[in-house]
Symmetry: C2
Subunit: 317 residues, 2 copies
């Protein structure tokens, strides 16, 4: 059985330090430097086995995803990643498991330029908590509460791939590798979030399902939204589903880690140009209105979709 | 069963915001302002049921302790608390349990002037992770790696009370309320840590046991230390134990959340004055030397003490 110290040392040995890290892993706390004129953005998310990922998920994928869901929150704020801490509960101290976990974590941490500066390991059921700190020029962060009546509603990438992959896993079917990658290795939309500062009026990441997340934007902004379910961007696997309600339900299941944002219609060309520049497809899916809540309209006619948004006290249980 | 959102709302409703919080709980991430000329200090610690606290611990005490162990890390750095995030895994969404937990958390957060700015709740075995951010004027943080040959070794308060309280709990005996309070509601030595900036050469909090923690200081500083086990400060319960080895073993069991620090002997009067000013007793217990590791000396004669330091992969299991 490895001790806490050798686990931490194992992690520490693999970390590259950003120049703004004064003191990394190895003291009571880390010391970092926030550049002048910047604000600090702080996100925190836990992943628990059986709740946020299937038990048989590869340790490298767990490492990736634990960081990815937090970087997705930073992306939704338009923040650039800087430092993070890791809280790891493990049933045992299996060094092979830990090495694979760190490998997956670093696969994402290194290109995202985020340094792990602190951690805590403890014995317990598998659970991974990450707190990620990012930086934005003061006053420039994207928020949920800036949506305005008349704004377009956009989403990045495609929706529903992770949910389709998860359905296959839960039903014991062979999963398409592309769908499984969307489930296990979501790509946080950092470049797009950064590009949307000063362009989008409101932004959120699609972790709980697009209906629920757009609902959060509406509630925070004091507006309503209409959404065309058939406009939701779909990858090939989801697009092949014939029943439009089944397709829309998968597309609002969550775990997508795309960005949903609103912007003035006068900025459509600008949005498309910014998105092209960071090689991230974006799609217009609805409009902000003076009402409350999110209404789905198919050819202008209201439709009820099953609200299968992600509730961490219900998912997979 | 409460949903994640009502749990978060329940917490959010109770929080007082510091003026440097631009955006607190309720978006994808929080936004805070680090004052010019300051560095950010980041600590993270998890508490798991059955590992870091007995299963029958009151929820309010769990709330207090989860924050306290992190504030103790900030204290050891000489940092003043600013913001924190909370990651909570709960077997169910019992609102009474959660209200009591928040009560205990805020009992400490409010006087410590730390604002909860983000959180994540999920279903799982009881586990509480806190990441605490503090502030220090740039370059003034206390660290483990500054101990110098000839330094005095000091500890604050008394050692062994929490371990004695825990022993009673584990053996099913009635526990003295004062000992139980040391176990359940440790008081982070924030004022002392702050006062020691520019005075102490190295500092660590005594969470793993004084021998082990002083050993960390020695390893980081490239020095050794001698420690007089009979000089370790004891409360009445621990002092009443006749066997000096049993007493010393309890006193190096950890969970004390006192500060262990080193300082030039020329500063003894200054140390005592600073400690008096913040009403925190301090005791000289040893000396830094040019060797390696920590040696216990009783009347100048080396003695072996059981190294019962706190290993999170072994404690209580």
């Amino acid at each position: 059985m490895s001790s806490e110290f050798s686990l931490i040392d194992r992690i520490r040995a693999r970390i590259a330090l950003r120049p703004d890290v004064v003191l990394g892993i190895g003291d009571d706390a880390a010391i970092v430097q926030v550049p002048p004129g910047h604000e600090l953005v702080i996100a925190t998310d836990i992943l628990n086995v059986g709740v946020h990922f299937p038990a048989e998920t590869a340790p490298a994928d767990i490492g990736w995803k634990a960081l990815a869901v937090n970087l997705s929150d930073l992306a939704a704020m338009g923040a650039m990643p800087a430092w993070c801490t890791l809280s790891l509960s493990l049933p045992d101290g299996d060094p092979d498991w830990l090495d694979a976990f760190i490998e997956g974590f670093l696969d994402l941490a290194l290109p995202a330029d985020i340094t792990l500066v602190g951690g805590d390991t403890t014995r317990g059921p598998l659970s991974v908590g990450v707190t990620a700190c990012g930086l934005v020029p003061a006053g420039s962060a994207l928020r949920r509460d800036g949506a305005r009546v008349g704004d377009d509603v956009w989403v990045s990438g495609t929706l529903g791939d992770a949910a389709l992959g998860l359905r296959d896993v839960l039903q014991g079917r062979a999963t398409d590798p592309g769908l499984r990658a969307r489930l296990d290795r979501p790509e946080p939309r950092l470049a797009l979030g950064h590009a949307l500062r000063g362009v989008a009026n409101a932004c959120i990441d699609v972790s709980d399902g697009v209906l629920q997340d757009l609902g959060h934007v509406c509630a925070a902004s004091g507006v309503g939204a209409s959404l065309d379910p058939d406009a939701l961007p779909a990858g090939a696997g989801v697009a092949a589903i014939q029943d439009p309600d089944e397709r829309a339900a998968l597309q609002s299941s969550g775990d997508d880690y795309e960005l949903c944002f609103t912007s003035d219609p006068a900025r459509r060309e600008r949005i498309l140009a910014e998105a092209r520049a960071v090689r991230t497809p974006v799609t217009r899916v609805g409009t902000i209105n003076a009402g409350a809540g999110v209404q789905c309209l198919r050819d202008g006619v209201p439709v009820d979709l099953p609200q299968r948004g992600f509730d961490h006290f219900g998912h997979l249980n």
